[in-house]
Amino acid sequence: MVRLINRPLALFAMIVAGPVLLTAAALVQLPKQLPEIEKGKHANYTEKIPETDVSFDMVAIPGGTFMMGSPKGEAGRQDDEGPQHPVKIRPFWMGKMEVSWDEYDLYWRKNAAKKEEPKTAADKAADAVTRPTPPYADETFGHGREGNPVLCISIHAAMEYCRWLSAKTGKLYRLPTEAEWEWACRAGTTTAFSFGDDSAKLDEFGWFDKNSDEVAHKIGKKKANAWGLFDMHGNVAEWCIDHYDKDYYGTLPLDKPSLSPFKAPSEKRYSYVARGGSWVDPPAMCRSAARRGSSKDWLKRDPQQPQSIWWMTDADFVGFRVVCPVEEQDNLKGLKSKITRESPD
């Protein structure tokens, strides 16, 4: 990863798709070539969840500036992927893998992570985080547990997991913004996938409709992207913090980079962004820029009212991974899910 960051920017200039929407005047305020990748000062680390045998790896993601969204003409592009707009990202760490049941079970299962000994302050803080009610179902919906990505959970559950993990570890964990997710997925590339434009190579990097045998797979079984992240394309789509708004990109400036933009989550249950496509999706939905918004349809088989704010019975294609900001941006400080049982759709 470090090797890649240190590559001359000129290398990236060769593969830049071209900021076709920018005027010459606007370019003055932008780096000459995008993406511009800052030299990272932070390093990968492994997080061990205290008092358990479970650990996960965090990958250092450099800060930088890139064109978010896809260029007109990219195969499989949808209208919500444009206009391409420049975005500046601060450095952060991102989970090398999608969060698996091995980690998530420690959070949601009553007593799963507790020990007999007196609790630490961190344990007490973690216990104060709300926890999913038990589902009336096999929460894995037949997709497998050990080593398999969490799925069929809501963005609220993913955000509360992050709060729990933060309290447990003393580090700030949260979901990525949609911009952070795309930046990390692209790993310095401007092509449809982080490995290029040829979807025929997707089989080497991810699980999608044609190679998944219609089931989610254990994490980390395919090749990582250039920054060392696994399963960014396919397997399970991944929750981001942002409300999904198909027109959101059009509200951002085209002539200067937006600093870590995101469409703030609210008390509403829908619609939120899930990125990267999944085992059930065609390659086009697994592209770096492809977007998807959650809908009530993802909870079709929950007959209760209010419906669960934790589980999504019909979203067995959605999971998440965590990020840890090197320095949290002000407008994300203290962010937590506002969704409650009383929340409107």
Binding site: D105, E139, Q305
Partner: protein
């Protein structure tokens, strides 16, 4: 149907079907009320049992067609009735007309809800279901009843009698075994019933999952209040989880085989959920059912955290095997492997919880016969006989279960009554056998 509308001469049933212009079906016909409604009549819906499922069913009912209003709610507890009243008003706006005067509370709240409604939703704990079903049918009201419909043989006999009575009265009854309204299951059963598997030789069904919610007893709770609020864990209220939950999967097997079991041998116990808050029910069962033509069916259900999960069904015949969606390792499709290979992808499924209400209202409007009580009673009894076998350690026949005289529901319920928690059944021991067959 709506007594607030001026009665008009009722057309004969044949005439009604012949003319869509008929607008009134509100008066009795030869001593029986007309139980269908023309499209302009308001269907007034009463909800009995204001938990999450009942409130959800009321919402789906309100969304099930035109001119339907949630009109009355009832629950044993004021807080639950209030919550449903508030939630339904918020979610449904003018489709919920539930003034405080039609929000009924107490053990007899069901009577007032039924009296105020054209269509009743029953969603209390299952122990009350036979009593409530009888009250709805005898009041000549159409019915949506949640599953299961009883917890013991006497209750099943009541429901079967009400099946006949509802037919006699032309009442429309749909039950909450929603897989019957789920596209993938409907397509699968069409295939199986048309011979895609050849002659059926065996089947398997599972509801293995983690534990569910529980309610801790507080100092001011009486025996009855605590058991009602924590109803999953008392056999007289839930039937145990094999009845309360696994009935869905057993129902699929009965549906596929177009039969009910003749005999079963089961086992089970309580290995993880042993604390007092979990009452006296089991946390796992495994039953072998015998069906006609020497077809044997494996059934497992479990509510234990951290164990292998599986909620699915499979049916095997001489030409192939059918598996449902959510089958471990192959969760995405309803699938037939074998001579007549076939798949139906999960993303083509509908919302069965909505569809069951659309269908019921369609039948009411079109005066089309629908009465699910027989199959839901048989599927419920299938689960009950499995429980009886596991509790007692003895083989149980269909007739044993159907003719059982042990009524689990206490007579003359009163808030201050003493309701000791029964001992956990222990199949094969003297204690287990003593309380087992009915319990």
């Amino acid at each position: 149907m709506n007594s607030k509308q001026a009665p008009k001469p009722a057309p004969s049933r044949r005439a009604f079907l012949a003319t869509t212009a008929a607008s009134a079906a509100t008066v009795s016909l030869g001593g029986l009320p007309a139980v269908h409604a023309s499209s302009s009549d308001i269907i007034r819906v009463g909800l009995v049992g204001c938990g999450g499922r009942g409130t959800g069913a009321a919402q789906q009912c309100a969304n099930g067609g035109q001119n339907v209003k949630i009109w009355a709610v009832g629950d044993a507890f004021l807080d639950r009735a209030n919550t449903a009243q508030t939630t339904l008003r918020q979610r449904l706006g003018t489709r919920a007309e539930i003034p405080d005067s039609r929000r009924f509370v107490g053990l007899n709240a069901y009577q007032e809800v039924i009296a105020n409604s054209d269509l009743v939703i029953l969603a209390t704990p299952p122990g009350f279901r036979p009593l409530h079903i009888r009250a709805v049918i005898e009041a000549n009201k159409n019915l949506f009843t949640e599953k299961p419909v009883a917890v013991d043989g006497p209750g099943i006999r009541t429901v079967l009698a009400m099946h006949e009575e509802a037919n006699r009265r032309g009442l429309k009854v749909v039950c909450g075994l929603q897989r019957h309204h789920q596209t993938g299951y409907q397509m699968s059963m069409d295939k199986i019933h048309s011979g895609a598997l050849g002659t059926i030789t065996s089947a398997r069904c599972y509801w293995n999952q983690g534990g569910l919610w529980s309610r801790t007893r507080t100092a001011q709770m009486s025996d009855l209040e605590w058991q009602l609020r924590n109803w999953l864990y008392f056999t007289w209220l839930s039937g145990d989880h094999i009845v309360e939950q696994h009935v869905h999967n057993l129902d699929v097997v009965n549906w596929a085989l177009q039969a009910h079991p003749t005999r079963c041998v089961g086992m089970g116990g309580r290995q993880s959920r042993t604390q007092a808050v979990y009452g006296h029910i089991f946390d796992h069962f495994a039953i072998e059912y015998e069906y006609p033509n020497n077809v044997h069916v494996l059934s497992m259900c479990r509510q234990i955290d951290g164990a292998e999960n599986n909620v699915s069904e499979a049916v095997t015949g001489t030409k192939g095997t059918w598996t449902s969606r959510d089958t471990p390792g192959d969760p995405n499709n309803y699938r037939i492997r074998g001579e007549n290979a076939w798949t139906f992808a999960r993303n083509r499924d509908n919302d069965p919880y909505q569809k069951e209400h659309n269908y019921l209202q369609h039948c009411i409007r079109q005066n089309r016969q629908v009465n699910d009580l027989r199959y839901v009673a048989e599927s419920t009894l299938t689960a009950i006989m499995g429980r009886m076998s596991a509790y007692s350690g003895r083989a149980v026949t269909w007739q044993d279960a159907l003719n059982s005289t042990q009524n689990l529901v206490p007579a003359n319920l009163a808030w201050d009554m003493s309701l000791p928690v029964p001992p956990v059944a222990s199949g094969g021991t003297q204690a287990g056998m003593g309380m087992g067959m009915g319990g």
